[in-house]
Symmetry: C2
């Protein structure tokens, strides 16, 4: 199976509309089965940056139809984007479903020519960002996400996969060039200079932004992290694992939208995920109904960060001991020689290395969400820029610290820094 | 262009023989032009581990015909090996020819179905190992190899290549699975336990070998280096850059046999190359006509090591400044902002990181050449095992030091250690 689009396929492609969807997809048996007989109700709900997303409802139930557009929705048709991303999303979803069963939406139908995936409608799930803005506590969230990260990152790597299968998969996903290109530019480069598509809360953040862009050590590290992202194909990443790619209820968590999937360093998904929780943490002061009203919720967010890391480490360790069937760190060298401690030491080093990378990716993710093209709803929904800027500024400084201190920063150190920045007076943060 | 072999192609394949070569290749115009009209003289000279190599001579000149065998020649047909390696060798040679013109043999003809490459006959070049055994000084060698490493490693990376082209190339070479598999097993794993195909000078080295295989820190590092090799696709490697893959005269150096080519960490080629010079250094005492007769030659070998590193660094730095057109460390972030020093600091960090990796790969390469399946002629040609073992033992200890100290070992430290091990009495080295 490969991704190339034939000219015929490109010709066949046509974006769905609310009016054409039922006629065009009436013959898809899996969709008919999920939704029931005609008539269907159809609405377009895509709030992301790239795609069309329809919810189709009928007598028997509902389903989601996601279709790639041949351009970046956030920007418009001036920025063309390959339809092959639906192919990579489909392939990523099928792998994630095997590696952490039940955590991604079920696929009902895939049409490569139309770049569309019909999938399970998640209800009453909401995008996690909405919960984080509303201040909703989700008891199972941290555990679910810690397990998802550990299982998908471990089981997609040379620690677990047969090496020929893994190399073939690396080659397959290397075709996801255009979406990688977006990450490479928008995450690692554009935020650190005055790139055309950047925006930030101005003039409030101007001083801090200038200081970040003048920080040469930061700019070196950002590119070293980019080099890691581009080259170090350790495992299949989700590639865009932020809190807008998670749908949750108080008892279920689902991970969606892996169209940025590519083989890359394990720390990337973990760092991006934690970054988005920490930004949500700082955004609370902008959403607090009165001063201090969100303090308990902020404490809960930091518990989530902490628990994700703990669960990740525990599950990754359990998989290391039970499923290390790949070509790396084989038992032939360790347990079979009576050297179990060497395997445990290698595990500690691996977790440590993933964490070092994660701290770096965490920092650049925060920066690009405040300085770059794609911002986050937790911050954007704070309408008063004077209230939003301090929330963003604390994120920016935390990001700088995470990138520059990534070789030494521990989880407890990260949380201490996060809290400490809350205590620094706003006028000092904004300089 | 892709590597898969159709069943038809597999059926068409037939190994050449001295008798069939002229008939079968008579129609190849480029070969006829190089060699001249019939009759041709033909001899098989393959002394490597994998392939058939013929020298074809006629009235007008000579050419080399290299054909892959469907098994590992060193082991026999019990170890099948894909013919696609000729495809990867061809693709690697064409890339290397662009990246460092004149340093690889010219290709006259490539036949994918027959897994054969007709190429320039290098004369009076000899395999570098022969020169190193004979004690021949080659004035241009270090410079040529330092340039080759810098140019191929830099120009095959995201520092230089358009990213879409680089990603497509990573995908292409990810198909070289079987040869990667050989490297992954024979270099990084087998030497460190009692694997079936291993051999070493016994009983002289038994104590030291047991000590290396009991060294848990060493075994962890070896697998961490393997993880780097498998995952970190920084650049197109030669993949087997030892002194048996170099042919030289006193005024020309050529690099041959890149069938192990794959995208991997820059330090791999450099480390393997230096390792082979250092083993040749220790082998000199086994070839010395009288005690001390090779001392000057040993000093020259260390000068070669030192000069390769100096030239590599100078050329890599020059390319960094002049040809950094890839997606990493772009001028937009540095020079265009008046931050040239950030670019220079990033260069130093990059060279340093390559060196750290190289020290690790250097160590495992030495180990596998003394403990594993594929040994080297410099050592093997020392017939008396009591004379060979101390030469090998010094290599093994240097390898251990390089792997375990790779995060701090400098070039001068490496050379000091190399010399210091000469002073340690043989009975202490052999324990």
């Amino acid at each position: 199976m490969s991704a190339p689009q034939s000219p015929a396929a490109r010709d066949a492609y046509e974006p769905l509309t609310i009016d054409s969807l039922e006629i065009r997809l009436a013959a898809v048996a899996a969709l008919r089965q999920a939704v029931g007989p005609s008539p269907w109700r159809c609405r377009e709900v895509g709030d992301g940056n790239l795609n069309l997303v329809f919810i189709v409802e009928g007598a028997a139930g509902a389903a989601v139809v996601k279709q790639a557009l041949p351009y970046v929705r956030l920007v418009g048709d001036s920025w063309p984007l390959s339809l092959t991303r639906a192919f990579f999303e489909f392939n990523a979803l099928t792998r994630q479903a095997r590696r952490d069963p039940g955590r991604v939406p079920q696929i009902l139908h895939y049409d490569q020519d139309q770049a569309l995936i019909v999938m399970e409608y998640l209800q009453p799930h909401l995008i996690l960002r909405k919960h984080l803005i509303a201040g909703v506590v989700l008891p199972g969230l941290a555990k679910d996400m810690g397990l998802f990260c550990a299982r998908t990152l471990f089981r997609g790597s040379d620690l677990s996969m047969p090496t020929a299968e893994k190399k073939a998969d690396v080659a397959l996903f290397a075709g996801n060039t255009e979406l990688c290109d977006i990450t490479e530019n928008l995450v690692f480069t554009d935020p650190y200079f005055d790139a055309p598509m950047n925006r930030h809360t101005t003039p409030q953040l101007d001083g801090l932004v200038a200081s970040l862009r003048a920080d040469q050590s930061l700019k070196i590290e950002a590119q070293t992290l980019k080099s890691q992202f581009c080259n170090n194909a350790e495992t299949m990443l989700h590639g865009d694992l932020h809190t807008g790619s998670i749908m949750a209820t108080d008892s279920d968590t689902r991970v969606i939208d892996p169209e940025f999937a590519v083989y890359g360093p394990m720390g990337f998904d973990l760092g991006m995920l934690l970054a988005n929780f920490l930004m949500a943490y700082y955004a609370q002061d902008g959403h607090a109904e009165r001063p201090g009203a969100r303090d308990a919720y902020k404490a809960w967010i930091l518990e989530v960060v902490s628990e994700i890391c703990d669960v990740f480490e525990a599950e990754f360790s359990a998989l290391w001991r039970a499923e290390r069937d790949g070509i790396l760190y084989p038992d032939a060298l360790y347990a079979d020689q009576g050297h179990e401690m060497a395997s445990e030491r290698a595990l500690r080093q691996t977790i440590e290395r993933v964490w070092r990378d994660a701290m770096g990716f965490l920092g650049v993710e925060i920066h690009r969400r405040i300085l770059g093209l794609a911002h986050i709803e937790e911050y954007e929904s704070i309408e008063d820029p004077d209230r939003r800027a301090p929330c963003e500024a604390r994120g920016l400084e935390l990001g700088r610290a995470a990138v520059l201190n990534r070789r030494t920063l521990s989880l407890s150190g990260l949380l201490a820094l996060t809290r400490r920045l809350d205590d620094v007076p706003t006028e000092r943060i904004l300089k």
